[in-house]
Point group: C2
Chain length 382, copies 2
């Protein structure tokens, strides 16, 4: 139950790009210094014109695919590599850990140089815009002034839209996957309850927990609720029906049961699955980082930059692909349709791809053939 | 923050029906004694053949409509009365507080006669079947052996199906609203997270909190999550968009904000709304009662009585009405369609009414004209 992970210092399997000093933040405040952790695949060409910058969802690290330094499978393993959708025979792919996260990039779990202690909730408020700009600075640290494409799913699907607004001319093409130009009231409601679960856990201690002794109970609830909303209701039905505990879920469920009086623990397969998912997350993700990124998603609204059509018109984008999933109820398909329409109205040739995957918001991690086909076709045309 | 309400003893605005001693429970165990609180509207005829037994959702009391003893508006105020859908010019309507609840009926917050202290989690496990049978006993206490109809929404929509299985010949007609013959994995997942929020609140104290000092933080989270899932995502969008706090939500939100460090409290209208909803619930509902009824819903499966078609064939029902709402994602329309099909296959003339209300699971409380029309037409035909 190691809920609050001490940032691991230097991890030799990732690279670090320094942020400009200071790095001014979109909602005010600044970071005196900071780094963005990233990993790369493929080769940057001499013109530095073949780079794809990949942003992540809320929880992953920069480890989108295995590398010689880290053989572990990445979160988008079959999408990046020679002959894959993000084809490393042609592109130099760079995935960044979001500013505010806890996998190498600067965030609330990092050390505040002025105190020598973790920032925790003294970290300034970060926004989706800051995640976009910090990712761009990581690319610039390699001498890349213009990306061939910016790509991102979920939070990353918001980040690339913010990128278009904040870094005019910073990318020629954009792929926004299961994202949104503005969080819906429904998503805000769900995320506010997730954060409340973390913050009402006494172990949160108003944000000042000892690293390693954070609000693991609240984080577990937040992650379970996330896991539920990342998938479609129909899929839950298909996968679990009303089955009892399975061997996979049983170990986690037994541990969970030991926390409660007899009869009050898990009974159904779906509960064991949630428990296993949550356990993994709680082990690696810092609670304050979670709160910061979750709040940033709520507050994102492309319209805060001005009329979205005008914003996109000034973006310098040459083309765009917006992918949504019809069963996604967290980032509803209407939200992707709206972003696609605004891009198109801004004069940017845009393909909107509503996919019928049953996996809801998480489909981009699971239903790879559909996403591969869309992204491959789009990038081939660029 | 009065999270654990001491049962108020005798409330003179409701009536109490004694349960048989002992009252044996469906999943084993028994209650040495118990009562069911109820309220009535209209007059029981001499043959005692005009009674409608109304079951509730998880959280309401028996106060479905105002009475001379309690002028307060009920949870189905415009549906019960002279000329209303449950027409008291014709019917004697009786609404029961569920066994296991905390508004007068025996449940975990009641006093265990053997100890003189609240049962709390020593209360035996209760099931949807027990709620049905206890409601029937309340009717029998008035000399009613056969109901004209059993009616119930949400949990009540499950209860009436359990009634058909457990009390053959106990009712001539059945109206199941936004219910289910078996909780879906999706609903189980959500409810298990709600219960976890209550049980991981340290104030729960493994179920043995001092009445009045229960897990209010966990209950607040559970209720907010409930409130989110009771409505459709589209409705959230329409009602709240991305609006800031409203005067209505502001008081609740200010209180909520005072629990957190600056910047971590509510910012959006939807958060103020959830806070106000949760506050009201936490004030009146006993946490252990909540856990018992929530778990009972997860465990309900009409198929545990045998093949549902055979079960309904033995029910003695003459006709049935099953209502569902297309935007309900907690009790999905497929679940009501299935129950209707099984009733029909059992030879019971059944109308299935899928309604297009946008209010999701809660539509029966809000979109009254549609429900009124269906129920009125059905009852007129009986």
């Amino acid at each position: 139950m190691n809920a609050a992970v001490q940032p691991s210092g230097m991890d030799e399997t990732v690279a670090y790009a320094p942020l400009p000093r200071p790095f001014k933040l979109w909602r005010g405040g600044e970071l005196p210094s900071g780094v963005i952790a990233y990993e790369t695949w493929g080769r940057l060409n001499a013109e530095r014109s073949n780079a794809i910058l990949l942003f992540t969802g809320l929880s992953p690290s920069s480890h989108a695919a295995s590398t010689p330094l880290n053989r572990e499978e990445g979160w988008w393993e079959r999408m990046i590599g020679p002959g894959f959708a993000l084809d490393t025979d042609r592109f130099f792919v760079m995935c960044v850990n979001s500013l505010g996260s806890c996998f190498g990039s600067t965030g609330p779990a990092s050390i505040d140089p002025s105190t020598g202690r973790p920032w925790q909730i003294d970290f300034p408020e970060i926004s989706v815009e800051d995640v976009a700009r910090a990712g761009y600075e990581a690319a610039r640290s390699l001498g890349i002034e213009q990306l061939h494409a910016v790509v991102g799913p979920s939070l990353g699907g918001m980040v690339v839209l913010a990128f278009a607004a904040c870094v005019p001319g910073g990318a020629r093409h954009l792929i926004s996957i299961s994202g949104s130009g503005a969080a819906s009231a429904f998503a805000i409601a769900l995320r506010s309850v997730q954060r409340e679960a973390v913050m009402t856990d006494k172990a949160w201690q108003q944000g000042r927990y000892e690293p390693g002794h954070g609000p693991s109970g609240g984080m577990r609830i937040a992650r379970k609720l996330g896991t539920i909303t990342y998938r479609g209701a129909a899929e839950w039905r298909e996968r679990f029906a009303r089955g009892g505990l399975t061997p996979r879920g049983e170990r986690a469920a037994r541990e969970a049961a030991s926390r409660y009086p007899a009869g009050f623990g898990p009974r159904f397969a779906v509960e064991g699955y949630l428990e296993a998912q949550a356990e993994r997350f709680v082990r690696v993700f810092d609670p304050n980082c979670y709160l910061y990124l979750s709040r940033a998603m709520d507050c994102f609204d492309i319209a805060s930059h001005g009329d979205p059509v005008g914003v996109f018109r000034r973006s310098g984008l040459t083309s765009a692909l917006v992918i949504g999933v019809e069963t996604d109820f967290l980032f509803a398909i209407d939200e992707q349709a709206l972003a696609a329409r605004q891009l198109e109205q801004a004069g940017i040739p845009t393909r909107f791809a509503p996919l019928p995957s049953i996996e809801g918001h998480d489909a981009f991690l699971v239903d790879l053939p559909r996403f591969d086909a869309e992204i491959r076709t789009f990038l081939t045309s660029t």
